[in-house]
């Protein structure tokens, strides 16, 4: 069953075509990766899905209903939560408050929301740091906080925007394990934009490759990695760099 479906989605910023007629389908319970060089339109695509930007053409359906045109908070309440590439914690609030406010999306009892935040905090190794202000966290911890807060809204699907960037390899492995466990144990569907290939290859069921806003390949990770177009536009360029 498809959980997320994009049909011919395009977005233009004045002259620049940021997302060019992209169609894709994400099956429920899978991990789906979106890769591509910088400026390929990946984050713009996320913002379109999450409702932070409006599309020029196309349609987006989530869980069987059209969601383009809805506000970001409405889309979150439908069960689609996102993280931001440039992390956006609530800086003056504690780590615990940050996550508990996420829980409050579906829990109106404040005390219960703080209690239930524990699960997400522990999943991302933030329990011991819950009393700290979010502004005092290191970047890797902020990335984890971003994920914990999104997860706290109890989504069916999590959109992760480069949450591995800036993490050391053991930290990447730890987050990969956490996400794998979430996907396996709770059936959480994950869509991730990621440059860290070891995370993509070990987690993703399918990979979608964008270049200049358009789709150039899609398929299982191993197949996509061998695609000459992908090597030329992205992997090769990175290997050379």
């Amino acid at each position: 069953m498809s959980l997320l479906r994009l049909d011919g989605v395009s977005k233009r910023f004045r002259g620049l075509v940021a997302v060019d007629n992209v169609s894709l389908t994400v099956e429920a319970g899978t991990v789906f990766a979106i890769i591509g060089p910088n400026g390929a339109g990946k984050t713009t695509l996320f913002s379109l899905i999450a409702g932070a930007l409006s599309l020029d053409t196309g349609a987006i359906a989530f869980d069987g209903a059209r969601i383009n045109g809805l506000r970001p908070d409405q889309i979150c309440m439908r069960g689609l939560a996102r993280t931001f590439q440039i992390v956006r914690p609530f800086p003056a609030l504690s780590v615990h408050e940050n996550v508990a406010i996420g829980v409050m999306a579906r829990e109106s009892n404040v005390a219960l929301a703080f209690a239930r935040a524990e699960e997400s905090l522990r999943a991302f190794d933030l329990w011991d740091k819950r009393e700290q202000r979010a502004s005092a966290l290191t970047l890797p911890d902020r990335k984890r906080l971003e994920m914990a807060r999104a997860l706290a809204t109890r989504p069916k699907m999590l959109l992760l925007d480069e949450t591995m960037a800036g993490l050391r390899p053991p930290e990447v492995d730890r987050v990969v394990e956490t996400l794998r466990a979430l996907n396996r144990d709770t059936g959480l569907t994950i869509v991730m934009i990621e440059h860290v290939m070891r995370a993509v290859t070990s987690l993703a069921d399918r990979v979608h490759v964008l270049n200049h806003g358009a789709t150039i390949a899609e398929g299982p990770p191993k197949q996509v990695m061998r695609d000459p177009k992908v090597i030329a536009s992205y992997l090769g360029a990175e290997a050379l760099g």
Partner: protein
């Protein structure tokens, strides 16, 4: 936590019995302190909790004051009833300001400019509205027969002392409850980062409108109190920009977004103003502006010493909550 409770109870008892040892003047100073604490608390709901900078809160003071006073003078309606239409009027005004701001994405200082503009429009409007005395002022009747009618907010200094104390305490209680509520947490999220707040399911526009509504309703009561305490209203004074600034100073000095900030700020600023008035009089200085200069210097010193607010600095020292906002 224990220590904080003891301090709070002792302070409360002191405030309850203090009038026994106070003369009329001192009572009037404390009325000003409580009024500033109350209005500061109301403003703090918008700025401290929801991150909406209003520099036009005199709008709600003035509208609340004129509405309750007009109902009393023209129709003999007790302010205890008149306060409801006064509140409603201010909430409508708040929704108009808020809706315009949020609809057209006017944020931050531009939103503040919008609030100033509305207060100015009201000032000019009431300056010409003959039904409420226009520029000549609007006066509430004061007579011996009505002197003890508490239901018409008629009374002596003691009456207004306890009334304003009660209002300040009620505002503290309301803000305490709001701060702990789900809405309060969603306000803080909105204040910290509106886009991130939207992403976790918060209807930011609705949260902001509710903040404006509550703040406007609370401030309107400060206006009702003002009308029946002073018994005269001049649009040029009550809607003046300087009144809005006075309202924001106490919570800023005390600590924006904290529960005790507006109270501490009022306890510092009002006596400071009074002391300077007394000092300049005692020294025989009657050059205009001297008091304002020293008041400004005092503000600069306080803000330089405690940039995050006086209350968070004190709370950190004492090791009681609210060290962080």
């Amino acid at each position: 936590m224990k220590k904080a409770e003891v301090v709070a109870i002792v302070a409360l008892l002191a405030l309850l019995v203090a009038p026994l040892a106070m003369d009329r003047y001192l009572l009037s100073v404390f009325v000003l302190v409580f009024w500033a604490a109350y209005a500061g608390q109301a403003w703090n709901v918008m700025m401290g909790f929801a991150g909406l900078l209003s520099l036009g809160h005199s709008l709600y003071v003035g509208l609340g004051a004129y509405a309750a006073a007009a109902l009393f003078v023209h129709f003999g309606i007790s302010p205890l009833l008149g306060l409801f239409p006064a509140m409603a009027l201010c909430m409508i005004a708040g929704v108009v300001v808020g809706w315009l701001g949020f609809r057209f994405r006017i944020e931050g200082v531009y939103f503040a400019l919008l609030t100033i503009a509305f207060a100015e429009v009201a000032r000019i409007g009431f300056d010409h509205l003959t039904w409420t005395g226009a520029a000549g002022g609007f006066f509430l009747p004061v007579s011996r027969e009505t002197a003890g009618q508490w239901w018409n907010l008629r009374g002596g200094p003691l009456f207004f002392y306890y009334l304003s104390l009660g209002m300040a305490l009620a505002a503290l209680g309301i803000c305490w409850a709001l701060r702990r509520s789900r809405l309060g947490h969603q306000w803080l999220a909105t204040r910290e980062d509106a886009e991130a707040a939207r992403a976790i399911g918060i209807n930011v526009t609705r949260a902001r409108i509710v903040a404006v509504l509550i703040s406007a309703a609370m401030t309107s009561l400060a206006g009702v109190f003002y009308a029946f305490y002073y018994n005269n209203l001049f649009a040029a004074q009550i809607f003046d920009m300087s009144r809005s600034i006075d309202i924001v100073l106490a919570p800023i000095v005390g600590g924006i977004g904290t529960l005790f900030g507006p109270i501490i700020g009022a306890l510092i600023l009002i006596p400071l103003g009074e002391l300077l008035t007394e000092a300049t009089r005692a020294l025989g200085i009657n050059a205009p502006g001297v008091k304002a200069i020293f008041y400004g210097l005092g503000l600069m010193v306080i803000i330089a010493l405690a940039p995050g607010g006086v209350w968070p600095a004190i709370a950190r020292r004492l090791g009681i909550g609210e060290g962080r906002r």
